[in-house]
Symmetry: C2
Subunit: 192 residues, 2 copies
């Protein structure tokens, strides 16, 4: 039975949502991706309500078994970090309200998991997400690709801890995944 | 008819809640104060859910007409600011969900409004809150006093903009309030 994971890349202007199903053989399939947008002309409380309603709708519609939310740091981009943190708080409470376990991953952890390189740029991440999920084109905007990458990272980490990892790579996607995992294991950045 | 204002001093370990009624003559009366606590042993998503449920309960029980939430800055105390921002996001969305207008005030604005001095310490704020609300003792913990101060600051600002300010001070509380307002007008810090 597949594990359904919903990834959230929190943000006030664009909040990325990505949903994947991951089979026991680790093959990941796209279920949904998109972004919840809010207008910068609106009051911050109205914007946060839009984000809250969008996250609730995604959780109710796709009924994931696990949720992953990007870990936010205060050091980064002071101008936008507060809105990002506020949106992440809403995402975390929404998941907890449904009794869902939440994985917290830093951008570096996600990049390392998906591309094998913790400093990969957004294009590299989108390219690997496209390959792993066998999509015709990279998901846009980048926030949606990031949310899918986060969901993949989380599914993979859950999988790594509960299943043997000696499995042979059979498809290009699995091969890409296992290759990235090997590189990531060698150079995984410290957890925050 | 009195205006009911609910102030929220957001926090993950202690989230202060203060509710006041303010009469047209500006006399403020305590309705409720308290804190929502969450254990630092719990996962952050569980903690935020506790905060969310506590804020929802306060809004539903006291049915305020206006809400004030302390404005959070990324510059302050990096260790705790993310939890504070996450809690504030939940508070703002909860207010917006009920169609309530939200006032955002910085700690300096609140201190200036309540004590006449933007750098007042917590004890001075608590002392003035005690005096203005005619309480027998200062509200504790400080987070609850801060939430009441925030509610007073907000009620006062709303009042200043919709009613003439030439009113004579009749009670010690009103006198304290008007004195503080005069000082605050002279030395109000810039808005963020």
């Amino acid at each position: 039975m597949a594990l359904r994971v919903l990834g959230i890349d929190p943000g006030l202007t664009r909040c990325g949502i990505g949903v994947i199903d991951v089979a026991p053989n680790r093959e990941a399939t796209l279920v949904y991706y998109g972004v919840i947008r809010s207008s910068s002309d609106a009051e911050v409380e109205s914007r946060l309500l839009s984000i809250s309603e969008g996250i609730d709708a995604a959780l109710d519609q796709y009924v994931p078994q696990a949720v992953a939310v990007e870990r936010v740091f205060a050091q980064h981009n002071l101008r936008t970090v507060m809105g990002t943190a506020q949106a992440s708080g809403i995402a975390l409470a929404a998941a907890a309200k449904r009794g869902l376990r939440v994985g917290h991953h830093t951008p570096s952890e996600v990049k390392a998991a998906i591309t094998g390189y913790g400093s990969a740029d957004k294009k590299q991440v989108a390219t690997m997400v496209t390959r792993i999920l066998r999509l015709a084109a990279p998901p846009t905007p980048a926030d949606a690709a990031d949310a899918l990458a986060l969901a993949l990272c989380h599914a993979w980490r859950i999988g790594s801890s509960v299943t043997p990892t000696g499995m042979a790579a059979e498809t290009p996607a699995q091969r890409a995944w296992l290759d990235a995992e090997r590189v990531s294991r060698r150079g995984r950045p410290p957890r925050a």
